[in-house]
């Protein structure tokens, strides 16, 4: 009988020292030159050696899309699944093999359109996996249709007169689904991305990380207001647990809460002190919910800067652990006996 060690965390520590290169597969990377996916691949490869998980225990599961080619480039186990279903495949894998380190990769179409339902359910079930949403606000692989994250009015192949769908707000969605770890980062800020990836991995539960990813071909510059050096500081708000919400070129702006209403305040004015500002608390669901709503277009009236970092982190039991607990509890009362099962309660003999 094959020995299958189910349960436990399987993170053995007698590991050889690996480097980012050890996580790069031989497969030639085929994204368009300049695609934001390259940066994400590189950060993941460079973070993995620091996580202390044996390479053979890591599985990348993806759906379909440019982003979903990701597993092919990783020298780990990997499944390139079908469109939208990576979360469902990963659920079966993680539920049956809690010892594995499971990562899910998908695009905005994959995880939020065709696969939106499964994303909702993996979040509420809180399997201990890491979900990386490569949001480029476009369908890349099918050559440039608008996606569920594209803004209203967005002109693409299938919307020559502009998109008329109200876009989905991925983090508000994830929080609404009772996700236990919700974060945002971007392809261009590699240091930030690495930090967030490590935090996501460390979190026990379904970690949902939205990554702003530039599609150079079909939606170039979609996030430039947040990623380009000259404007970034004015538009981005980097969240740090326990620190006040401050942004701006000279860290001269802050966010202050008036009741549940956030307002931008000018820190150069003498009557405002940093002590009055909103202090970020990752465990505060209500505040996280307000932060996910910082979603206006830069430059619009009452603009709130776009937050990056960990919005929310909560500890909640994981589905696969509860499943295993029930099994162990049932086994304690008596391991299943096949003969007794087949025989049932009542039998009779024919001679």
């Amino acid at each position: 009988m094959p020995a299958l060690d189910l349960g436990g965390n399987g993170k053995k520590s007698d590991l050889p020292v690996l480097t980012a290169k050890d996580f790069a597969s031989e497969q030639e990377v085929r994204w368009c030159p300049g695609c934001g996916d390259y940066s994400i691949l590189k950060q993941v490869q460079s973070v993995l050696p620091e996580l202390g998980v044996p390479r053979e225990n890591i599985v990348f599961v993806s759906g379909i899309g440019c982003s979903s080619r990701f597993p092919y480039y990783m020298e780990t186990f990997g499944i390139h699944g079908i469109h939208g279903r990576a979360t469902a495949i990963a659920t079966g894998l993680k539920a049956s093999r809690p010892d594995l380190d499971v990562w899910i990769v998908g695009g905005d179409g994959d995880l939020l359109s065709i696969g939106g339902n499964h994303t909702l359910h993996i979040l509420r079930r809180n399997l201990n996996v890491n979900i990386l949403l490569f949001n480029n606000e476009i369908y890349g692989l099918t050559k440039g249709q608008y996606s569920p994250t594209s803004p209203v009015g967005f002109v693409a192949k299938s919307t020559p007169y502009g998109a008329i769908d109200h876009p989905i707000n991925p983090l508000a969605f994830a929080l609404g689904a009772d996700g236990t770890f919700i974060a945002r980062t971007m392809d261009r800020d590699v240091k930030h991305m690495r930090e967030i990836l490590k935090r996501a991995h460390k979190h026990k539960g379904a970690s949902f990380v939205e990554i702003y990813q530039n599609c150079v071909i079909f939606n170039d510059g979609a996030f430039e207001a947040f990623t380009e050096k000259d404007v970034k500081a004015e538009n981005d708000l980097f969240l740090e647990h326990g620190k006040p919400l401050v942004f701006g070129k000279n860290n001269d702006k802050g966010i202050k809460l008036f009741g549940l209403k956030p307002m931008v305040v000018d820190l150069t004015l003498s009557d405002v002190s940093k002590d009055d500002l909103w202090i970020h608390d990752e465990r505060d669901r209500t505040k996280a919910s307000i932060l996910t709503r910082f979603f206006d277009e830069p430059g619009s009236e009452h603009y709130m800067p776009r937050p990056f970092g960990v919005f929310y982190a909560e500890e909640r039991f994981c589905y696969e652990d509860a499943m295993l607990d029930q099994i162990n509890l049932a086994k304690e009362k008596g391991e299943g006996d096949l003969d007794a099962l087949l025989r049932g309660k009542e039998t009779w003999v024919v001679d």
Partner: protein
């Protein structure tokens, strides 16, 4: 029975009896039928049951669509079907009588609950006059009994409400039938006590009603005959009573034990397949993981994930759920991972007839995916047969690294029969060999390298040195690397098809179930029509007709000798509960001129209609 009666009562011996318990869906007829059947099984009768109930949980009371029925045929001879025509009709109300009277043999028994024939019930059933009084039932033995009133008076003083008391009516009827067929009450009494463990007063009320029904039979003057049905001469062995879906669930557990693989079931509730999920979720002490997914797509995908991780993975569903799974089944074909897909067929298209039976998913199982994506198909032929078919599906899935579709249907999934159950030792081991770990210097791992069966290795995560990627994109032969090469795609398509064809070497040859190997007519069936064809061919052969019966379990691939076997007959008749799906496959594969006999009424074949058809073919003048 050596009971002493207080009045002259004759005891008549019967070879077989068919009873239909019919009432409102709230009348508890399913429970009554099940209890009666279990007792018959324990007494050593052979039997077969058929629950027939409406799709609505509580269809409007008293109306024809609200009628729920449970039919059981039991006997001292071998029984393969729940019976065509019935000997006893238990009608709890006017609608139940009206809906089922056509099934009752002339001169046979109606036990009618008089309280269910009041003005309101007659009106709801659309009866202008009361059939119990208008002479229209003169051809039958009618026993009008005030079941409701008698139950109420029996349970007077129990402190239960009238509503609660009325719920025990079915136990009164059951008690009466136990008396009529000289059966003991103890099995049912034990069951009631167990079922209402937490409500002893309800348990006692039900037992009291049961005993009151029995005593009523004994005391009332209207019954002058009791019946006795002796033990059946079944093959020697130890038996139990089993339902189809239960057998399917047990087979998955058995295959998990015999393969040493943990069992994972991904499923989304759907009639008539849900009981497989229900049953398996009870057996966590076997390490079974049941996952109630958000939909059938997720259920199938989760099964794929579990299979990838090294579990024995399965998913259970019915028609509409099969539609949703197909894309993911295609993925399993491409990934070459073992997943057992159980399709408990029901009437379609679309929502169709959720609680009625049909064999109409065969062509879907065969061709239901885009691209060329062959999948082996196995069909169960009886309630107990669900065990063998499912176990075999697991074996083939693992041995050939492929998804396998196992077809059962509403008729056998909810039906039941005695089962000469196997012991764990009787069941064959299922050998599993995961790909071995590799060291640094070893040559590169080839995930799509095949063995002599055409199967690739099962390389599960967590195995050192086996890191590799698989996916739904076409892959290069052996290396598994993504490949759009034309020749390679042709090769991989061929290899995938050949692997499934090679299964023919790993399954038994087709045999003739009954009759000679050569002759005028072969009746070729598959799946749940087994019992009916078996019974009809047996009877016709006794009458001297030259007819044989062969029954297919393996639908894809067919057994290797099937072509040879069918060509030994002048004519081939294929009866199916669809418009001719197996007929199409047989014609296509063997260019054989088959005669179709089809029924799509959501109901199994009647023995009589099949018999008529066969006789017509055999007596047809050559043109």
């Amino acid at each position: 029975m050596s009971e002493v009666h207080s009045r002259p009562i004759r005891v008549e011996t019967k070879q077989d009896v068919t009873i239909l318990f019919a009432g409102d869906s709230g009348d508890g007829m399913q429970l009554t039928g099940t209890q009666f059947s279990e007792t018959a099984a324990i007494l050593g009768n052979d039997l077969n049951t058929f629950p027939n109930y409406p799709a609505e949980i509580r269809a409007p009371a008293g109306t024809l669509p609200g009628v729920s029925g449970f039919q059981v045929q039991f006997g001292s001879k071998e029984i393969f079907t729940p019976g065509d025509k019935i000997d006893v009709l238990v009608a709890m109300n006017a609608a139940a009588l009206k809906a089922n009277l056509k099934l009752l043999k002339e001169g046979k028994i109606i036990i009618a609950n008089v309280d269910g024939f009041d003005e309101k019930n007659l009106q709801l059933a659309g009866c202008k006059t009361n059939p119990l009084e208008d002479g229209s039932l003169a051809k039958y033995h009618v026993y009008p009994i005030e079941i409701g009133k008698l139950t109420r008076s029996a349970l007077e003083g129990t402190g239960l409400s009238t509503k609660e008391i009325d719920r025990s009516k079915n136990m009164f009827v059951l008690g009466l039938l136990f008396w009529l067929y000289t059966r003991p009450l103890d099995h049912t009494i034990n069951n009631i006590r167990e079922k209402f463990k937490k409500k002893p007063e309800i348990a006692e009320a039900n037992i009291k009603a049961l005993q009151a029904g029995y005593s009523y039979g004994e005391a009332t003057e209207i019954f002058t005959t009791r019946y006795e049905v002796k033990k059946a001469k079944l093959p020697a062995g130890t038996y139990r009573h089993i339902m189809g879906n239960q057998a399917t669930a047990y087979a998955l557990i058995a295959a998990s034990k015999k393969s040493g693989l943990p069992l994972f079931l991904g499923s989304y509730p759907i009639t008539p397949a849900s009981d497989i999920l229900h049953e398996l979720s009870k057996h966590k002490n076997f390490g079974v993981r049941t996952f109630q997914a958000e939909d059938e797509i997720a259920a199938m995908c989760a099964a794929i994930g579990a299979a990838y991780g090294g579990s024995l993975a399965a998913t259970s569903t019915s028609g509409p759920g099969m539609d949703l799974k197909e894309e993911a089944i295609g993925l399993a074909v491409s990934l070459e991972l073992p997943v057992v897909i159980i399709d408990v067929q029901r009437g379609g298209p679309s929502t169709g007839l959720p609680t009625k039976t049909e064999q109409s998913d065969l062509l879907m199982a065969m061709f239901g995916r885009h691209g060329e994506s062959p999948v082996p198909i196995i069909a169960a032929n009886s309630p107990a047969g669900c065990f063998d078919a499912t176990f075999e599906a697991c074996r083939l899935a693992i041995e050939f690294m492929t998804p396998v579709i196992c077809l059962t249907d509403g008729y056998i999934a909810n039906g039941s029969e005695p089962w000469k159950f196997p012991t764990a030792k009787d069941l064959p081991d299922i050998t599993v060999k995961f790909a071995a770990p590799r060291n640094a210097g070893d040559p590169k791992y080839l995930p799509y390298k095949r063995n002599d069966k055409g199967a690739r290795e099962w390389a599960i995560p967590g195995t050192k040195g086996l890191e590799h990627r698989i996916g739904g994109l076409e892959k290069q032969h052996e290396t598994g690397a993504v490949s759009y090469d034309a020749e390679n795609h042709a090769l991989m398509t061929k290899l995938r098809a050949e692997k499934i064809e090679k299964i023919a070497d790993a399954i038994p040859l087709q045999t003739i179930d009954n009759g000679s190997e050569k002759g005028k007519l072969l009746v070729l069936g598959w799946g749940s029509t087994y019992g009916t064809i078996k019974t009809v061919v047996r009877d016709l052969r006794l009458e001297g007709y030259d007819v044989s019966h062969a029954h297919l379990t393996y639908l894809n691939p067919f057994p290797k000798n099937l072509g040879e076997l069918i060509y030994n007959f002048d004519k081939i008749l294929i009866p199916e509960l669809n418009s001719g799906q197996l007929a199409r496959l047989i014609r296509d594969k063997f260019l054989a001129p088959v005669i179709q006999f089809n029924k799509v009424q959501g109901m199994p074949f009647m023995e009589s209609e099949l018999k008529e058809k066969i006789i017509a073919i055999l007596t047809e003048k050559e043109k």
